[in-house]
């Protein structure tokens, strides 16, 4: 079964001094969100989002769902997973890295089992597969202390 998801953006003016807005998304869950080249390419974004931040959110949420599924299938469903994705963008080169960090509260599972399940989720989740061209996708997976 195919699922289609849609987003609409408006851009005004040239690249360097212009700016854009994510006007709406199909679900209605967010928008309008402002974007600009400066917010994308400078270290401080002034509170604006960017393609890389949206990719980080997509990767972290996709990975979390895949890991939740894998853990439940193995008979050890998680109580809570906290994931962060850090995406690195080098202007002129592209997206060079996505670093996933996950901390899980998973009753009945040891650290080795959790790392294995996380590794599978990293490999198998649809966003990881769509980002297979990123030179470096890293994973740091530990159970909550």
């Amino acid at each position: 079964m195919a699922a289609e998801r849609r987003a609409s953006v408006t851009w005004n003016g040239d690249l360097m001094s212009g700016s854009g807005t994510i006007d709406e998304v199909g679900s209605g869950a967010f928008g309008p969100l402002d974007v600009s080249w400066a917010a994308r390419s400078e270290e401080t974004s002034g509170g604006k989002t960017s393609p890389e931040e949206l990719i980080a959110a997509a990767h972290a949420s996709c990975f979390s769902m895949a890991l939740s599924l894998g853990l439940a299938k193995a008979g050890t469903p998680p109580e809570r997973l906290r994931t962060s994705a850090v995406v690195t963008f080098v202007p002129g080169t592209g997206i060079t890295k996505s670093a996933l960090t996950v901390r899980g509260n998973v009753p009945g599972l040891d650290a080795v089992g959790f790392r294995e399940a996380a590794e599978e989720a990293k490999k198998g989740c649809p966003v990881s597969q769509a980002l297979a061209g990123v030179p470096e996708i890293t994973l740091d997976a530990e159970l909550d202390a």
């Binding site: 699922a3 005004n12 994510i22 080249w37 980080a56 439940a72 469903p77 002129g92 997206i95």
Partner: protein, 148 residues
């Protein structure tokens, strides 16, 4: 060139089918709920990884297109663009992002439809996200010049 780092955090609670998560942007620009029904059903009310990818591709591509129109000698007044991302089940590979379609309407001086189409093609080749997502998805781009 500087390395630009952007972060998002997700907290997920519970099982896949009944659980849900919250995705927070490092910049503070958004804080969004995600869950499985909104990812796979037609009546999505929450966002999903695929919708976030559609927003990422739309914003990445629109900056490339604005740059390429200027490089071709045109002046951008306004670009309206919609990106549609499709996830599908592909045999033994399971669920994959299989397509991303971009539909752009541009208002610009100093460029004609043929020039815009060339700029749209070059922008696709130059957009880092178009390049990446081709690992699993087809990317198609349509660009139409609108009169002022």
């Amino acid at each position: 060139m500087p390395r630009i780092v952007r972060t998002a955090d997700v907290a997920w609670e519970g099982s896949l089918s009944r659980g849900s998560g919250v995705a927070k942007a490092g910049t503070g620009a958004f804080e969004l709920s995600v869950d499985i029904p909104s990812r796979i059903s037609d009546a999505a009310v929450k966002t999903s990884p695929e919708e976030l990818l559609a927003a990422a591709h739309a914003t990445c591509y629109v900056t490339s297109l604005a740059g390429e129109i200027a490089r071709a000698g045109g002046t951008v007044e306004r670009i309206d663009l919609t990106c549609t991302v499709t996830m599908d089940e592909v045999g033994e590979k399971g669920h994959l992002i299989v397509a991303s379609e971009i539909d752009a309407r541009a208002r610009a001086e100093g460029i004609d439809q043929a020039g815009l189409e060339r700029a749209a093609q070059v922008a696709d080749e130059g957009c880092p996200f178009s390049t990446l997502i081709r690992a699993s998805a087809s990317v198609s781009v349509r660009a139409v010049l609108e009169s002022n």
